[in-house]
């Protein structure tokens, strides 16, 4: 199948790739760009494991075509950590034991970062509502929700008054 050339910004750097029109952004990230931190759980928009940020919105990358990424700014799990350190959301997930198998974790972290950027002090209900498209089969969500709360606290403490 004929390939299309696509220019994007991935995790802050310009990236060019060739992809078939039928390839999803998820497939392109994983197979063409070797960014395998973004996971596939269902390939039809129902699990959230493939969540990435695209032009400031979170999307299931399995429901976006690679060619649709032309000109877009994309942030994946690989772009969340700050240099050699970790983002507060990542730290909170580790300290709060918010992952067991960890396959849902990249999607949850990308989604949580976006939530806290929009709503720095969400209620428990707002957290649960926002994360309702991210399935986790291991944790029962309790420690995830608590870790999001902990990250919110820390980010607010850090934020300039």
């Amino acid at each position: 199948m004929k390939k299309t050339q696509v220019q994007t910004i991935v995790n802050g750097r310009p990236v060019e790739f060739l992809c078939e029109p039928r390839q999803s952004l998820l497939e392109v990230l994983r197979d063409n760009l070797s960014l395998t931190g973004t996971k596939e759980g269902c390939n039809d928009g129902n699990c959230g494991a493939c969540t990435v940020e695209m032009d400031g919105r979170i999307v299931p990358s399995c429901l976006v075509l690679g060619v649709e990424a032309e000109g877009a700014q994309i942030v994946t799990i690989e772009g969340i950590a700050l240099g050699s350190g970790l983002h507060e959301v990542q730290k909170a997930f580790l300290e709060g034991a918010a992952l067991q198998c960890g396959v849902c974790t990249p999607g949850f972290i990308v989604a949580t970062k976006a939530l806290l950027e929009q709503n720095p002090n969400p209620t428990e209900h707002e957290i649960r509502f926002w994360l309702a498209n991210n399935l986790c089969r291991c944790t029962g969500y309790d420690k995830i929700v608590r870790s999001v709360q902990a990250a919110a606290c820390r980010l607010q403490e850090e934020a300039p008054a």
Binding site: K39, C42, L135, T139, K143, S147, A150
Partner: protein, 781 residues
């Protein structure tokens, strides 16, 4: 040095998340640890060793495997629930551009008539074989028929559609009652019922019927003042791990096969694949990749032999990854069940007789976990007269796989509702009634064994004392329910090697797939012996060429058994360290004592770190291995208190509050123990309220996506409070019991009891979804 710690003092560490002002602290303690013994490392909450990899996306799961020349595959599956394969023509597929090879069952060596160990038990090789690629007949919609390797997955899928399979469809048997009825369509011509362990010549879908019995239940029922008998059904449900199955294989030019896969047991994959392909186990190396959940469903071998065959045919590495529909239609699930329970008790509350009749749907091949269901159904009770009958029934659904305490949840859904009903009829508090009859050390389980030290009473007492149990319950159509459940802990086999680094840290090599933080809980047990921090251990899960045999991550055994191997290896290190310390201290090795990483003799001492730095001068590298086959297994009891609100207009059930209590022996890493309890509870809630295979008239699953196979989301659940009870298992160095599974057993029963208390209706079928509850409320049943 047994100390009873005040639970309120032991909890604070866990809940840093909620307490610093921005969010109000909860009015009660959500996670209690009723610790009975304190250690330095065991019982603390270090950050897991693989944490950074897992929050940055660096951890490599099976589907992330990439290598030069990698081909991708696709598996063609049966569209029919039951059909004869008349012919398969692969020529069009093979001719498609980009296709490298196609395989069918004809590419597998024919299955010998023998028994194989498949991880948590034995089965006939022909069944494993037949499930990997169908031979002659397909037995369920989704049964693998052929596979293609191509340049990419799209070409492989396109090619699979070009494979021309001619089927002659057959009548199907979809449920246990249907499959057991006379005239039912038979799945296997050569399947004859084993009756009480004896072969019969009855061709049937009932693979086995057996009975366990203690005392005389008829006599027991005759003495009873109250007898309740009811029948219950549960739908087929799936383990629901988020990561689909996958396997990458390279059949190398020297005949060695390398497999990278997500599995609960790398050695099982090695051994089963070797048996199917008829090559020696030493010719296969299995590298367990990170695994995205399993819950028992990633013990069976599905893709590995197929990927290996495709690699052999193409001379290239081949990766197979299932789609979500493949996962739902071709793997797992857990059996649907049909269970009747009869219990009798006298006024005053003593149970005089218990009787259970369990028929479980094994799916396409025998082996439904009805036996553990039968062992567990009354395991919470000491009763002199018990009879349990079990039927293992094949039906035209995917071959069932273990799912967290396999078989026990269906059984508890039945037994714990009848127990509740009797307590109600006798006017006794449901926890008091259970306590009066609770199994304890010395009680006999129906299948024979006498319990060693168990924590059934302690779990019930913790439930009774928990603030949740006495809390007021407000609102119309609200109800509170309780239930308890039991699950085993298996020993099997584990290996571990420790090597001391010159900077005083220790590399730990083990073979247990880490599904939920077990690298850390295993490392902590070595650290405790060595007297060093958990962070100074570097645990690694390695391939089957690099560590001694290790059985599956299953049966709630990993922290228990592989942790024990780490403990034993660490003890050997301590012994060697004493010899080295003696040299450094110029003392007699026999006189060296060790405490918390400090080795002393004759008033002088030297630290673990110093000995490590001097190893080269005192005799060379320090390293030790240990293997275990533990017998001192510790079964676990779990109990739930759950509050529900039922909407009588829609039938929707909301969980208002949920408390999970479990005896874990000793919580090595309490956060991950709580995580197991919360995760098992959430799965139990999904099983109770939503999850179900909707089977169409064609015998196919109608809801094969995660939109329609609806597992609980964050929005469906409340916080899940935990109460860890520690009744030390005398069989383990730190008192550890199996933790991973018992927690899924009570939730459906507890929720059913809560619904009964809310609206006065007893639901006898899972799931208790809105239509079912609405109908029960509207029709009076």
């Amino acid at each position: 040095m047994s100390t009873t710690l005040d639970p309120v003092q032991t909890q604070a560490a866990a809940n840093g998340a909620a307490g610093n002002g921005v969010h109000p602290a909860p009015a009660y303690e959500p996670n209690m640890v009723l610790a009975t013994r304190a250690y330095d490392v065991v019982g603390t909450r270090p950050v897991r060793h693989d944490g950074a990899d897992k929050v940055t996306g660096r951890a490599l799961y099976g589907a992330d495997k990439q290598m030069a020349g990698l081909l991708q595959g696709f598996v063609l599956r049966s569209p029919h629930a039951h059909a004869k394969i008349v012919s398969i023509d692969t020529s069009k597929a093979e001719a498609l551009d980009g296709v490298f090879a196609v395989v069918t069952a004809d590419d597998l060596p024919p299955a010998k008539d023998k028994i194989v160990d498949v991880g948590e038990g034995d089965t006939r090789l022909a069944y494993v074989h037949g499930n990997v690629l169908a031979k002659g007949k397909t037995l369920y919609k989704g049964h693998a028929v052929a596979a293609v390797a191509a340049t990419n997955v799209h070409v492989a899928e396109q090619a699979a559609k070009l494979i021309d399979v001619k089927y002659a469809t057959l009548g199907s048997s979809m449920t246990a009652p249907e499959a057991m009825s006379s005239g039912a369509a038979l799945l296997h011509d050569d399947l004859k019922t084993m009756e009480y362990g004896q072969p019969t010549d009855k061709a049937s879908n009932v693979a086995q019927h057996f009975q366990w019995k203690i005392g005389d239940s008829d006599e027991g029922f005759a003495k009873a003042d109250v007898v309740v008998e009811r029948t219950f059904d549960t739908a087929t449900v799936h383990q629901g791990y988020i990561e689909p199955h996958n396997a990458t294989a390279l059949w190398n030019n020297d005949g060695r096969v390398h497999i990278w896969t997500s599995t609960q047991g790398a050695f099982v994959v090695r051994d089963v694949t070797a048996t199917i392909l008829e090559i020696p186990v030493s010719q296969i190396k299995v590298t367990p990749m990170e695994i995205g959940g399993g819950f028992g469903g990633k013990i069976p071998v599905y893709l590995e032999p197929v990927a290996a065959l495709l690699s052999k045919k193409t001379g290239r590495p081949v990766k197979l990854v299932m789609t979500r529909a493949d996962v739902l239609e071709g793997t797992g699930p857990t059996p649907g069940s049909h269970v009747s329970v009869k219990i009798g008790a006298v006024n005053g509350g003593k149970i005089t007789a218990m009787q259970g009749n369990l028929a479980y749907e094994a799916g396409a091949y025998p082996g439904s976990f009805v036996a553990p269901g039968g062992m567990c159904i009354f395991a919470a009770y000491a009763c002199e007269n018990v009879t349990v009958d079990c039927y293992d029934v094949v039906v035209n659904k995917p071959s069932s796989a273990a799912y967290r305490a396999p078989g026990a949840t269906q059984a508890a859904f039945a037994a714990e509702q009848v127990i509740d009903e009797i307590a109600g009829k006798l006017g006794i508090d449901p926890i008091d009634f259970r306590l009066q009859n609770a199994a304890k050390e010395g009680s006999r389980r129906v299948d024979g064994p006498k319990f060693r030290r168990i924590g059934c009473v302690e779990v019930l007492e913790a439930m009774q004392r928990h603030p949740h149990y006495g809390a007021p319950l407000a609102g119309p159509n609200c109800g509170r329910g309780v239930a308890v459940g039991f699950w085993f802990n298996v020993g099997l086999e584990s290996s571990c090697t420790l090597s001391v680094n010159s900077d005083g840290t220790v590399n730990l090599i083990e073979g247990s797939t880490d599904i939920g933080g077990t690298r850390t809980s295993i490392a902590m047990q070595a650290a405790e012996v060595l007297g060093i921090p958990a962070e100074d251990i570097n645990p690694q899960v390695v391939d089957t060429d690099s560590v001694g045999y290790t059985s599956v991550t299953g049966g709630s055994r990993t922290t228990f058994a592989t942790g024990w191997a780490a403990h034993d290896a660490a003890q050997k290190i301590v012994d060697e360290m004493k010899v080295r310390a003696a040299k450094l201290l110029e003392a007699d090795a026999a006189g060296v004592t060790h405490e918390k990483g400090v080795y002393s003799a004759a008033g002088k001492s030297v630290s673990f770190r110093e000995i490590a730095a001097q190893a080269s001068r005192t005799g060379g590298p320090i390293s030790a291995s240990a293997t275990v086959k533990p017998r001192g297994v510790g079964g676990s009891y779990a109990g739930n208190i759950v509050d529900v609100a039922v909407d009588p207009e829609t039938g929707k059930v909301d969980i208002l509050r949920f408390t999970a209590v479990q005896d874990v022996g000793k919580a090595v890493h309490p956060s991950y123990v709580e995580g197991q309890m919360q995760g098992g509870s959430a799965q139990g809630i999904g099983w109770a309220l939503n999850e179900e295979y909707f089977m169409g008239a064609d015998g196919g699953m109608q809801n094969n996506t995660l939109l329609d196979y609806r597992m609980p989301t964050a929005l469906d659940l409340p916080m899940i409070d935990t109460c860890i009870v520690e009744v030390a298992n005398p069989g383990h160095p730190y008192g550890v019991r199996g933790v991973g599974e018992a927690n899924i057993v009570p939730p459906p029963a507890a929720i059913a009891n809560a619904i009964q208390n809310a609206v006065g209706r007893r639901l006898q079928r899972l799931p208790m979804n809105p239509p079912a509850v609405w109908q029960a409320v509207a029709n009076g049943n």
